[in-house]
């Protein structure tokens, strides 16, 4: 007679194998997406259309949150820095924290919940209503026609959104720090300019947001493509997109940061 705990052990094993299987399928999926990107290059209108949905429609939330994050940084930074009498370094604090960390990470989290979930739901529903199968029937490759344009739109728009988030946040920090509190404007900008390096800080931030863009779009598209074709399946896939991509962003951020800013 088998032991009572056997089914749960068996379940664990099955879940592990399932996870590895899904990972392999996901890897094959992104390979397929990149291999079928020729259509997107030949018909850039497809990408432009998706850029509108992923990029332009995410603008409002990105700009507004960037402004508020920057304003909070300005307030909090001023409170702490004024204890050491170095409130002139407020510009450095706001700019470095935005350009290095908060810009790429927060905008990627917002992007995952705003655009990633929409992508998953759209593709999941296309699958559930058998639009993808219909395309295959018409000899149109759904990966080339539906998935690849969305992938490239996400990868292109993510760094742009992160840059706008950072710029807006620095503007917010400027409003709170210089306009409202009255930190000296000259030292705010000049200290910022002498501390922020274009290659070390700005370029690394862009690389980060590019990596996050690939990760979020990949996860979102894969979850949609792999979703069970039911209402429940699509809703579950949407939730998984947001959870998995948020975790992936934070974990990748740690890895990238440890490579990029290991201290001079």
């Amino acid at each position: 007679m088998p032991h009572r705990s056997l089914p749960s052990v068996r379940g664990m094993g099955a879940a592990t194998i399932d996870a590895v299987l899904r990972l392999g399928y996901a890897a094959r999926f992104i390979g397929l997406t990149i291999a079928h990107s020729g259509t997107s290059l030949a018909r850039p209108r497809l990408v432009v259309r998706e850029l509108y949905f992923t990029g332009v429609l995410s603008l409002i939330i990105i700009l507004v949150s960037g402004l508020f994050v920057g304003m909070v940084l300005g307030l909090q930074g001023y409170q702490t820095l004024t204890t050491y009498g170095s409130e002139s370094a407020l510009g450095v604090l706001v700019a470095l924290s935005l350009v290095r960390e908060l810009g790429p990470v927060v905008s990627a989290l917002l992007f995952a919940s705003r655009a990633g979930s929409a992508m998953t739901a759209e593709i999941g529903l296309m699958k559930a209503t058998e639009q993808l199968s219909a395309m295959e029937m018409m000899a149109v490759d759904p990966v080339a026609r539906v998935v690849a344009p969305r992938f490239w739109a996400g990868v292109i728009s993510m760094p742009l959104l992160a840059a706008m988030f950072s710029a807006m946040g620095i503007f917010g920090g400027y409003i709170v720090g210089v306009v409202l509190i009255g930190v000296d404007e000259g030292s705010f900008w000049s200290q910022m300019q002498s501390a922020v390096d274009v290659r070390e800080d700005v370029l690394n931030g862009v690389i980060k947001s590019f990596v996050f863009g690939v990760a979020v779009t990949w996860i979102a598209l894969f979850e949609g493509y792999d979703a069970p074709p039911t209402a429940e399946g699509v809703s579950g896939a949407t939730t998984r997109t947001v959870v998995t991509s948020s975790l992936a962003i934070l974990a990748l951020d740690f890895i990238l940061t440890s490579f990029m800013f290991r201290g001079v």
């Binding site: 300019q193 390096d197 700005v202 931030g205």
Partner: protein, 158 residues
């Protein structure tokens, strides 16, 4: 949404994104001190560099003229060798003094260059002869305490 309107919005989006990147590069970061090919390298040996770090600024009369390139330990003379990248547009005489200074009381450390009166200029790869090490606060306090104790503890003077 019409096709042309959609294109317009996407175009605006891309332009705004690139504009944000340009702002980050020029207004927030300092594009001019990126350290390209327009610098030359000079060396200086210090007995103690304190908390000096690579990429720390090198200032002359308060103006940033370069960056610290690398700091290595010289195992023959037991001192620190600091390589400095100076912008090509700035030339310094041979008898320039390099000292490690602190901006503010608790600020970052930087190298201050003070030009001398020599006609000859420092060439790439040259070394600055006259150097002044970083002020170590503990030593300073120790000296102060020692001199205080010497003053108060000498009954013959009273």
């Amino acid at each position: 949404m019409q096709r042309s309107m959609l294109d317009l919005w996407v175009g605006l989006f891309v332009v705004a994104g690139i504009a944000a990147l340009v702002i980050l590069a020029f207004k927030v970061g300092n594009m001019s001190t990126m350290g390209g090919g327009d610098t030359y390298e000079i060396n200086a040996s210090f007995d103690n560099i304190g908390g000096l770090k690579p990429r720390a600024p090198i200032k002359s009369a308060g103006v940033v003229v370069g960056r610290v390139k690398s700091i290595t330990f010289n195992n023959e003379r037991f001192n620190a060798k600091v390589a400095m990248s100076i912008e090509k547009t700035y030339q310094f005489p041979k008898d320039t003094t390099a000292s490690i200074l602190t901006s503010g009381l608790l600020g970052e450390q930087y190298i201050g260059l003070e030009g001398g009166g020599d006609d000859q200029m420092l060439k790439p790869g040259d070394s600055v002869r006259l150097t002044q090490s970083a002020v170590v606060l503990e030593k300073l306090i120790g000296q102060f305490l020692f001199s205080k104790a010497a003053e108060g503890g000498d009954p013959a003077k009273k």
